[in-house]
């Protein structure tokens, strides 16, 4: 999910500290081209390592911050069944964050460091989670649209050239297979319900549609690191390709629900079989990335609060472990 290439704009590549010979680079690329997996301790170009750390940690942060908008409705879920399902889903997000942090840690960066970068605003997370969940229908829309978009992105990542990332993604994709369906089911239930519930469902689609399209990141012409990531087989499809695929599968689902996609330019191009969609408001995207979305501050404050409130707990556990170790010695 959530590998929008968020902080690619204005990113300057630091020169590698270690000399990397043309021979080494060529041998590395040959392994990639042969579809060999790169493992943690294998030689790799510094830029490859850095790209992965950035992408995987961004992905992990997105999972963790992503717990908040859905967590917002856990205490108010309208039935015990829905409460249990939503809780299992939010828990999965914590688990997926954990798998991803672990994958990034194999590249020599600590989770502490990654979390510190997030809290300092140096690391990004997916822009989608800076939008508020205002009604129960938003929980349906997130599962249906946001997880739907995430799956588009994540399935190819299961074949990513970096072994630990690919393995984490296999596990994540397997576990997430119920996430989108539970979201669609919520929408279905609402659209079969009262007029108020139908309006709630339409309102949620209207608010989440465009932010979901933005999840795939900037248009290919503005996404300058894409080519290198494709060559390294970290990425398998471009942002625009994935976005198109998402629109193509999602529009018929909206029609099935009897909901209107909020795009007057949307139409099926019979020749290509693809839907043409209207212009994305990239200004909104960059505003949200810059910290000015509806919930950026709230999300970060909550994360910072949990981190700070937990400090004494983490310290106590270490102090206890140290005492036990001293006793055993």
């Amino acid at each position: 999910m959530y590998t929008q290439g968020l902080d690619q704009k204005g990113q300057t590549s630091k020169p590698a500290a270690v000399e990397e010979s043309a021979e080494q680079l060529a041998a590395f690329q040959a392994r990639i081209d042969a579809e060999e997996k790169i493992e943690a301790k294998d030689w790799m170009p510094e830029a490859y390592r850095r790209t992965l750390v950035r992408q995987i940690s961004q992905h992990a942060h997105s999972e963790i911050i992503g717990m908040q908008p859905e967590g917002n409705w856990l205490t108010r879920a309208p039935s015990l069944k829905r409460k249990a399902i939503l809780l299992a889903k939010v828990q999965d997000e914590a688990g997926h964050g954990l798998y991803l942090y672990s994958a990034a840690e194999t590249l020599g960066v600590s989770r502490d460091q990654m979390v510190a970068d997030l809290l300092a605003g140096k690391a990004k997370y997916s822009s989608i989670f800076n939008y508020p969940t205002l009604t129960w229908a938003d929980i349906g829309a997130i599962g249906w649209l946001v997880d739907g978009a995430a799956i588009m992105n994540q399935i190819p990542l299961c074949r990513c050239s970096y072994g630990p990332y690919a393995r984490a993604m296999v596990r994540i994709c397997k576990e997430e297979s119920f996430h989108q369906r539970q979201g669609f089911e919520i929408m279905l239930e609402l659209t079969r319900g009262s007029d108020e519930q139908k309006a709630m469902a339409q309102d949620a689609l209207t608010r989440w549609w465009w932010p979901s399209l933005m999840m795939f990141g900037p248009s290919d012409k503005d996404s300058k690191h894409s080519a290198q990531s494709m060559a390294w087989k970290i990425k398998r499809f471009s942002n625009d390709e994935l976005r198109q695929k998402f629109v193509d599968v999602t529009v018929p689902q909206a029609e099935f629900l009897g909901l209107k996609v909020p795009d007057d330019d949307l139409e099926l191009d019979e020749a290509s079989g693809h839907y043409r969609y209207g212009d994305i408001d990239w200004q909104e995207f960059y505003d949200v990335l810059a910290g000015n979305g509806p919930c950026n501050r709230q999300r970060m404050a909550k994360r910072q609060g949990a981190h700070d409130d937990g400090a004494w707990v983490r310290e106590a556990a270490q102090a206890y472990a140290a005492k036990q170790a001293a006793k055993a010695a």
Binding site: M67, T75, Y320
Partner: protein, 252 residues
């Protein structure tokens, strides 16, 4: 009160404890000290919600008026809930949550062990299943209590305070009434006097390991099982039931 009425009331009490405990755990989501504890907390909450669902469903069958699990959870008002006062207390910090979980589950596990041997077959089955879950919870809570009690000066002071604050709600576990008596005599339910002794012994053992003193005799607050709750429960219920109340009869 006849045996059937007592059984129904008893099942609802156990269910309410599970639901309210689970709901408080859910409030903690995305606020844990470490990521791994998020997974643990969610597992615990899922276990409790699952137990509540099984018990409410059974209560509906016992009552025979067609009430579903959600009718019990979402359409009773605050004073109809019969959970312990301890369960509804606000979360506070991680140490408060651990102390509450430890004190309650030290009781709940013994209760479930006894119920697993009950003459009422359905209740015994549900209890046997829940017992496995709570055994793991309690182990987790006890280990954390030891780490916090015997951790840093700060953590020790914090959980000592949590313990002093919450101890007064433990008397209610053992303040049996007619329902408990009937359950014991007719359905081979728990013997609360025996449970109290066992509970105190188990709790004392862990508190000692945690370098915490067992609180002395103190005033014990009761009322939960008569529906006389603290002010905190009303807000929990209002939040939980919001959608069902705002859109009566809607299906979600």
């Amino acid at each position: 009160m006849n045996a059937d009425e007592a059984l129904l009331t008893y099942v609802l009490r156990v269910a309410d404890n599970a639901l309210i405990t689970g709901q408080r755990m859910i409030e903690r989501v995305a606020g844990e000290a470490e990521l791994e504890e998020e997974l643990a907390n969610a597992n615990f909450a899922l276990d409790y919600i699952g137990q509540a669902r099984m018990l409410y469903t059974y209560a509906g069958e016992l009552e025979g008026e067609g009430r579903s699990e959600d009718d019990f959870a979402y359409l009773r008002d605050t004073q109809e809930f019969r959970n312990f006062l301890l369960a509804e207390q606000p979360n506070g910090h991680f140490g408060d949550a651990i102390v509450r979980q430890f004190l309650f589950e030290s009781f709940y596990l013994l209760q479930l062990e006894a119920l697993a041997d009950s003459r009422d077959k359905r209740l015994a089955e549900i209890a046997a299943r829940a017992e496995k879950e709570i055994r793991y919870h309690l182990r987790h809570a006890a280990q954390w209590l030891v780490r916090l009690g015997d951790g840093t000066d700060e953590s020790h002071a914090r959980v000592a305070r949590s313990l002093a604050e919450q101890w007064r709600y433990t008397g209610e576990f053992f303040a049996g009434d007619e329902v408990d008596s009937i359950l014991q005599s007719e359905f081979r339910g728990p013997d609360l006097d025996a449970l109290r002794e066992q509970w105190l012994a188990n709790v004392t053992e862990v508190l000692e390991e945690a370098t915490l003193a067992v609180p002395g005799e103190t005033f014990m607050a009761t009322g939960g099982r008569q529906g006389l709750h603290t002010e905190h429960l009303g807000f929990l219920i209002a939040e939980m039931q919001h959608l069902q109340r705002a859109y009566p009869g809607a299906s979600w």
